[in-house]
C-alpha cells in the first residue's frame, strides 16, 4: 500500500486534473464541456452558466448554460449588484453570494489580464455543504485557465463571438 501521505496530498490531484482537462481542450465546445465536467465532478454542482463580459455594458448576456433555465437567466445585471462589477474587475476572483441571489458562486474567466466572461454557479449539490480552501484553489484555477481554453484556441476576437460559433 502506498503511504497515507499520498491520500493527504490528493486534494492536489483535483487541481492537476482540472488543469490537464482545460489544457487538452481542442475547441470552445470541448472547453465548455471541460468546464461543466470540472464543476460537476470536482466541485459539485450541476447548475451553471457562462456570461459574456462586454466592458462598458451593464448587462452581461448568457452565452451558454447547463442545468439552469436559460430564459430566466438570460443575462446578468452588472449595474445594481455591487458584486458583479467587482468580479469583472477580478479583485475577488470568487464571490460567495447570499441565498437570496440567483448564483452561489461567480468566477471571473480571465484572459490576458482582462475578465472576458463570468462563470456563474447556481446551487451546489446537496452533499456539497461548504466551499473550502481547496475548492477556492480550484475556482482560482478555473479563473486563470478557462479563458485560454475557451477563447485563445478560437480566432474570434471576443467571448460572445467565440461561443456563438458553437
Amino acid at each position: 500500500m502506498k503511504p497515507n501521505s499520498a491520500i493527504a496530498d490528493s486534494k492536489d490531484i483535483r487541481l492537476d486534473v482540472a488543469r490537464r482537462r482545460l489544457r487538452e481542450s481542442n475547441d470552445p465546445a470541448d472547453a465548455l464541456e471541460g468546464i461543466r465536467e470540472i464543476v460537476t465532478n470536482l466541485l459539485g454542482s450541476e447548475e451553471m452558466g457562462v456570461f459574456s463580459v462586454e466592458h462598458g455594458k451593464d448587462v452581461l448576456p448568457l452565452l451558454w448554460s447547463f442545468g439552469i433555465d436559460p430564459c430566466k437567466h438570460c443575462a446578468l445585471d452588472a449595474s445594481c449588484d455591487g458584486v458583479v462589477p467587482k468580479v469583472i474587475q477580478g479583485a475577488p476572483h470568487v464571490a460567495l453570494l447570499n441565498r437570496n441571489t440567483p448564483f452561489s458562486l461567480l468566477i471571473p474567466i480571465r484572459l490576458k489580464g482582462r475578465t472576458v466572461a463570468i462563470l456563474a454557479i447556481q446551487r451546489l449539490l446537496p452533499q456539497k455543504t461548504n466551499v473550502d480552501e481547496s475548492d477556492m484553489k480550484l475556482l482560482q484555477l478555473l479563473s486563470d485557465e478557462a479563458g485560454r481554453a475557451l477563447f485563445a484556441c478560437n480566432s474570434r476576437p471576443n467571448a460572445s463571438e467565440a461561443v456563438s460559433d458553437l
Binding site: 491520500i7 465536467e37 449539490l125
Partner: protein, 124 residues
C-alpha cells in the same frame, strides 16, 4: 503479489482522469477504463476486473442497465460494483441496489472516502 484490477467507467474525461489519478497515486490497484455501459460490459468480460467503479448517467447504456446486465452474466455476476452518482436521494440509491450494485459513492469524489471504500472490498 497479484495486483487487483479496477474497471473505471465514466463518459466524462475529467471523472476518468480524477479516478485514475486517485488509483495511481493512492492505491496499489491497476486501472482500466470504459466510457459507457456498453463498453463496460465488453471490458468486464475481457479484463476480468476485481471491482467495477461505474458512473450512472452515461450515453448508450447507463450504469443501472449495465449493472443489471452484469448480474445476469455468470462471468461478471460476482464482481463488486460501486456506482458513482451526483444524486443521493433514497429512491435513486434504491434503484441502484435493485439493479445489483454493491455500493454507492457520490460526486464530487472524496479521494480518502473512495480509497477506504475500495480497500473494504479489495483489501490494502
Amino acid at each position: 503479489m497479484n495486483t487487483k484490477k479496477i474497471l473505471v467507467v465514466d463518459d466524462s474525461k475529467t471523472a476518468l482522469m480524477m479516478e485514475r489519478s486517485i488509483l495511481e497515486k493512492c492505491t496499489p490497484y491497476q486501472c482500466v477504463t470504459a466510457m459507457d455501459g456498453a463498453e463496460a460490459l465488453v471490458k468486464a468480460e475481457s479484463e476480468k476486473p476485481d471491482l467495477i467503479l461505474m458512473d450512472v448517467v452515461m450515453p448508450r447504456m447507463n450504469g443501472f442497465e449495465a449493472c443489471k446486465k452484469m448480474r445476469e452474466r455468470a462471468s461478471t455476476r460476482e464482481i463488486p460494483i460501486i456506482l458513482v452518482t451526483t444524486r443521493r436521494e433514497e429512491s435513486y440509491t434504491e434503484a441502484g441496489f435493485q439493479s445489483g450494485c454493491n455500493d454507492y459513492i457520490t460526486k464530487p469524489i472524496n479521494s480518502t472516502e473512495l480509497v477506504e471504500l475500495l480497500q473494504s472490498y479489495l483489501g490494502k
